[in-house]
Every structure is written in structure tokens, then in C-alpha cells.
Symmetry: C2
Subunit: 70 residues, 2 copies
């Protein structure tokens, strides 16, 4: 699976939700994961801004996909 | 106050925490606000990627400042 793709982030969201299900509701786990990933992506000064924005857009799309799943 | 500056986001975080204190803990409110702002910023196609990344970095800095306050 391609790193930083939509499906990559979808899988990571699901794993994070599963690992934290005893302490966080689904949406709280998703928001916590989202924040930590954005914080990491924007501190990556090796990548161009266009690539950073592309990755965050993929993260946002994955967030919306996983959130709407039952 | 300059829009999208660190102090702009700090103020918005504090207002969001205050408005949601009956339903969200501080950190959950902050993560929810952070997610919604990033989602908005990256969908702004009027701005250059460099400006989007600058705004998100300010948001991240404000997040860390407000989170560490008692």
C-alpha cells in the first residue's frame, strides 16, 4: 500500500480506533490521530509544500470515509 | 488580530473549549476544532500551498501553546 495514500490513512485510522476503543470513542480517536499525523506531516521539511498538502488532503478524505462507515 | 496567526488560533481554541465544555473535555474539543480547521484550510484552493502550510503550522503551534496551559 502506497504510503500517505487515502487507503493507507484509512487503514491507520481503523487500527488507531481499534487500539484505543477502551478509552476513546471512535470520533475522539479519529480526531486525536488526525491531529498527530498533521503535526508530523507539517514538520517534515524534506518535502515540498505541494506534497505536504497532498498528503493532508488524503488524510482528510480517509477521515471522511472512515467516519461515515458504520 | 491577524487572521490565521498563532494568537488568532489560540483565541479560537479557547473559545471552542469554552463553548463545548459541557460535552467535550479540553483535549477532545481541541482535537475536534483542529480537525475542522485543517479540513477547511486545505480546501481553500485560492491560496498557495506555502500559505496553507504556514497557516497549519500556526494552528499546530497554537494547539501546543493552549494544550500546555493549565
Amino acid at each position: 500500500m502506497e504510503q500517505f495514500s487515502v487507503s493507507f490513512f484509512e487503514e491507520n485510522f481503523k487500527q488507531y480506533i481499534e487500539r484505543n476503543k477502551d478509552v476513546f470513542s471512535k470520533v475522539h480517536a479519529m480526531n486525536a490521530y488526525y491531529r498527530s499525523i498533521v503535526g508530523t506531516l507539517i514538520n517534515d521539511h524534506l518535502n515540498k509544500n505541494a506534497e505536504i498538502v497532498r498528503r493532508i488532503r488524503n488524510l482528510e478524505e480517509a477521515y471522511n470515509n472512515v467516519k461515515s462507515e458504520q
